[in-house]
Symmetry: C2
């Protein structure tokens, strides 16, 4: 497999988010490249965001470094500090444990495409704008109750 | 640091290759992004290859997964099976332990640019075309003698 052929890798818009938080990512189409390519040291996801879609709910991880690079189109990176337009070749890094929630929003009228790198997190994730937390392998409310 | 500003990250064309193998990578300019960005789960290098430069001597790692994505320009990916032209958006994965040496050559007349992902290898690396091996933290000949 010299050059990765994306067309043979399954694309999914699935999410584990409970309603009503799932709707924001219904236009997020993910290909998980690492299993297909035989990589296990880190994960690589190829993501297409349809117009209006978010990459995730805005979040940060206690124990997962994340890195993204834009491949095409335009997305807005939203963090605590504000909004940054991201275009092909633009990159951003999200070190674990930094409590600055982030996500990408496609506010354009065309698709955008990026790669996301990370390792499967063992610890919790925190959601900045909504009553949601990933804790102990489940999505829960901030008071710890299950959805 | 919402969008990574490459211009503030130091660029180096250093190499540990012994002569005469160092010359091939003298036009390879690397920025190590992970330390600057606070990432430790995996490494990310931004690499510019000047015309004529190679990304490395052709090699494979016993214990390091590698992944590359082209950002601009054109390079030729050389593996045991042959040559593949890589352009912006093209990706390739090199699973650890697969004895298929790989590198990128810039045979064009302009710069090319890519990102390379991996984790610091603890084990050996094997060089496909030359009398070189990375073993026990040193560059040695195939017979084990030091340079």
């Amino acid at each position: 497999m010299p050059r990765i052929d994306l067309t043979i890798i399954q694309q999914s818009n699935g999410t584990g988010y409970p309603a009503p938080y799932a709707a924001a990512v219904s236009g997020r189409w993910v290909r998980r490249l690492a299993p297909t390519c035989g990589l296990s040291d880190f994960g690589v996801s190829h993501v297409v965001l349809k117009p209006g879609a978010a990459s995730s709910q805005r979040h940060w991880h206690e124990d997962e470094d994340e890195f993204i690079v834009m491949l095409s189109g335009e997305a807005v990176l939203v963090e605590d500090d504000g909004r940054t337009v991201m275009r092909a070749g633009d990159m951003a890094a999200f070190p674990k444990g930094e409590p600055n929630g982030h996500h990408l929003l496609n506010e354009s009228d065309g698709d955008c495409e990026f790669l996301a790198f990370g390792r499967p997190p063992l610890g919790d994730a925190h959601y900045s704008d909504i009553d949601l937390r990933w804790a102990g392998g489940n999505y829960v409310r901030r008071d710890g109750s299950r959805y």
